[in-house]
């Protein structure tokens, strides 16, 4: 007898149905465990010709191109592309700062849940493995990538139960994830990234060094950028409960300059390290955000016209 699933408000069947027409592509060859729809980093047995190379003793002679031998009297091996599946790790920041909600009342964590659950669904349904890591100051939940539907349910259950709690140690956690996850995985990070830019970019670099395809969803609210308050406010930090009473008129110019500088730095760093950076406002429709994300990746996928490999 199966237990009844909790209510999954982060899933919208209509959105899932519409986004199912798109695939989640990796921007770089992946190293999967089974055959899939993604290009592998190794040669394989697909029908797509890859290249010729000289025969070296020990090669399987079944791939020897006899026609070329007949013409040139030399042995050349005929190689084909390999298709593999994708391992994706969804990394969700569940620190207390993710409880910040915009004017619509939707918190960053709720938004991240929608993104994570939808991506997980799409990935599993295209045969890719999906894992989930939730973290605050340490890893809260670590689900390794698998591709079975039951695994997907497990992920959904986890997403449904996870709550924003504790301070964030995102830099440390990204370094840990970069080391833990096997090479050449798609790592999707959903966070507000409210930390120092330089260590964060180091963590991004670490991810790329491990040949992971790193995509980030930078969750922000317009209020955090506009800072359009008009009278004295006591700001209470969500994570540390540190309080600051200030007149927004006094601090707004400096605040906006800091935010501007931060966003520019994080965007420049992401471009430099090849991070698929997506800034998301909480009032954006998550379906459109995901559609844009998927379409952009489709263009950049290996084998796509003009895509970098």
């Amino acid at each position: 007898m199966s237990t009844e699933s909790p209510h999954r408000e982060f899933l919208d069947s209509a959105v899932l149905a519409r986004l199912s027409a798109l695939t989640v592509n990796a921007r770089a060859p992946m190293l999967g465990s089974v055959t899939g729809i993604h290009r592998s980093a190794t040669r394989g047995s697909s029908v797509e010709f890859a290249e010729y190379r000289k025969y070296v003793p020990g090669d399987d002679i079944k791939n020897l191109d006899w026609r070329v031998y007949a013409r040139t009297d030399r042995f050349y091996m005929k190689e084909f592309e390999a298709d593999t599946n994708l391992r994706c790790v969804l990394v969700m920041d569940t620190s207390k700062s993710m409880a910040f909600a915009g004017k619509d009342g939707v918190s960053k964590l709720a938004y991240a849940k929608k993104l994570a659950a939808t991506l997980a669904y799409l990935l599993v349904h295209q045969g890719d493995a999906v894992g989930l890591t939730c973290f605050a100051d340490k890893a809260v939940t670590e689900i390794p990538p698998r591709r079975s539907p039951s695994h997907l349910r497990h992920i959904f259950d986890t997403i449904a139960t996870v709550e924003a709690h504790g301070p964030s140690e995102i830099v440390e956690m990204l370094h840990q994830i970069a080391e833990k996850v096997r090479r050449r995985a798609l790592v999707v990070v959903m966070s507000d990234f409210f930390t120092e830019v330089e260590p964060l970019l180091n963590a991004f670099q670490h991810m790329r060094f491990q040949k992971h395809d790193l995509a980030v969803f930078h969750l922000l609210d317009k209020q955090e950028i506009n800072f359009d308050f008009d009278r004295p406010i006591r700001f209470v930090d969500l994570e540390s409960h540190f309080q600051m009473l200030t007149d927004p008129a006094l601090i707004a110019p400096g605040y906006r300059e800091e935010v501007d500088r931060y966003l520019e730095a994080i965007q420049r760093g992401s471009r430099e390290f090849g991070v698929d950076y997506n800034r998301v406002m909480l009032d954006d429709d998550y379906e459109k955000v995901l559609a844009a994300f998927l379409l952009q990746r489709l263009k950049k996928a290996p084998g796509a016209g003009g895509a970098a490999r």
């Binding site: 910040f100 009278r231 006591r234 200030t246 935010v259």
Partner: protein, 675 residues
Amino acid sequence: MTFLHSWMLWGLLAAALPVVIHLLNRLRFRSVKWAAMIFLIKAARSSTRNSRLRQYLILASRTLAVLAFALMLCRPMSGGWIGSMLAGAPDTVIVLLDRSASMETVDPRVQKSKRERALALLAGVAKETIAGSRFVLLDSATRTPQEIAGPAALPALPQTGPTDTAADMPGLFHAAIEYMLKNKTGRTEIWVASDLQASNWMPERREWTTVAAQLAAMQRVKVRVLALPGAPGRNLSVSLRDAPLRRTGDKYRLDAALEFAQGSSDAVSVPVTMTLDGVRSPFEVSMAGPRLEMVKKVELPADRLAAGGWGRIELPADENVRDNSCYFVYGTQAQFKALAVAADDKAGGLMRLAVAPSPALNRVCDRLPASAAANADFQKLALVIWQGAAPAGETEAKLRRFVEAGGVVLFLPPAGGEAAAPAPAALAAWGGAESAEPTRAFRVALWDDLDGPLAKTANGKSLPVARVEAAKRCGFAAKTESSGAPGDSGWHALATYADGKPFLLRRMLGNGKMYALTTLPLREWSNFGEGVVLVPMVQRMLEQGGSRLGGAESATCGEWTPLDEREVWNPASELSGGRNFRTQAGVYSSGSRFVALNRPAAEDAPDFVAKEKLPKLFGSVPVTITESLAAEAGTDLQSELWSLFVVLALLFLLAEAALLLGEHVPKPAAALGKI
């Protein structure tokens, strides 16, 4: 700095509004749970100091703008370079100095008289800020314009010294206007230094309308009044109401009717010194109220009377030394000779009776018809009573000279009541007669009981003027407006009926006076012939006219001039008061004749024109009134500064706007656009 609307200084509290609003806003904070605290902390570290400074500057700008606006509403005034710079230096400054006796009241705090304080304040203006302006002094005693180097020279000028005269302020303004018209003074400021004594300003006089119209017509004229009102606090004054000589057998007695006044109602004992022909004798007067009237009887031997002499009543020094003395003289009396020229025989007879001709009383009255009046010896006459149509031709010219020489004329209306068109230079002109309803006779409602022929008696009793009932009266058609010339102040009503029409009028001409009575002492006209008012009135006129004929004469300082300008009049003695009969009270002698000059009685009156009423006198001419205390604080005359505060308020608002607009605020849209 002083303020015209000082009560609006409460508005300065409004300057606290921006601060209060700022503090209230700070108290009305709300709590917000915030994730991006990292930026807040960084922003607080990097830019709060500048922003806070900017905020404080904005707050200060707002506060100062409100402050400047509130100060502007208070209409601030300032002297010194600020006031002058903003007002701009005028081309000509005409200083009208009130040198009346009341200006000699000393303020015990500064030990200076009002006149001295006014001069010091005016001298304070003599700074480089108004260099270039032409200064002209017009004092109330001489009314002769004199160009001066600047106000700094004022205190040293003889034309600014103390006097015992009255000040005719409308006349002074007329003199100023005359000077301005003659000299084309350009942009002119008239600075008036006065104590605003009502008897000097005479705000009820119609001449002010002319003054205001003439000043307004000149356009570029401003009037500044340095007002120094206020009666002295502890001051005693003595004045001589009358000093008639009585004869009892071979003895003569001078009844000096004295009036003592003090600023309080305390019971005091006043030591008085009487000097009679240089011999001092003290006596004491007890006062139980603010005023005391008494008659000091001075026995005079017959032999001394022939030589003539003088006396002085003196009080101890107090806040106003000018009102501590009064003078009287005695001497041989000339015959009081009257001439009655009456068209109506009955009226003429009654008037002759009123003169009371009697050798014992030294009074004579001749009667002549109008046609023969020109043959009379006017030089020996004290009074001419003229009943009927006003004289014309040679008689009119002789009569005019008689009055100018100090004689008195009483005009009575024609018995038929026929009206005649007045000649342009006619001494008097009668309108038509008017009869009262049988049961409602014309009654006299108002009369001057302080001065003139209807004044109270020496012992303070009023004449029963209110009992006069007229069944008929005659209109008076002569102009009652002043011509503005000195000594010719037009006809003025001394007594009026209940409906405002004149009963008795007076006109000053030269040294003499003319009176016009609008009813006749005939039974069908009025009950005036009963004599209770008529006789004392005529007797007083007779004495007024005859005072110039005797060996001793009493007059008012400033109004008296010798009949012959060539006569030399010197002080009668070292103790007899002033040295200059034109401006100083005292006893002066010329040969065997004496004249006692006393300050005008009105100078003792403690009535002042309210400064709120002054601008009405000048109509549309801009008037700035400076109060004494404020002026002393500021050390000079002041100018309005409201325009400065308007500019300041605008500057502060502009500064606030610049601070608000100059703030570099990175637009959030810029960051969002980089997505």
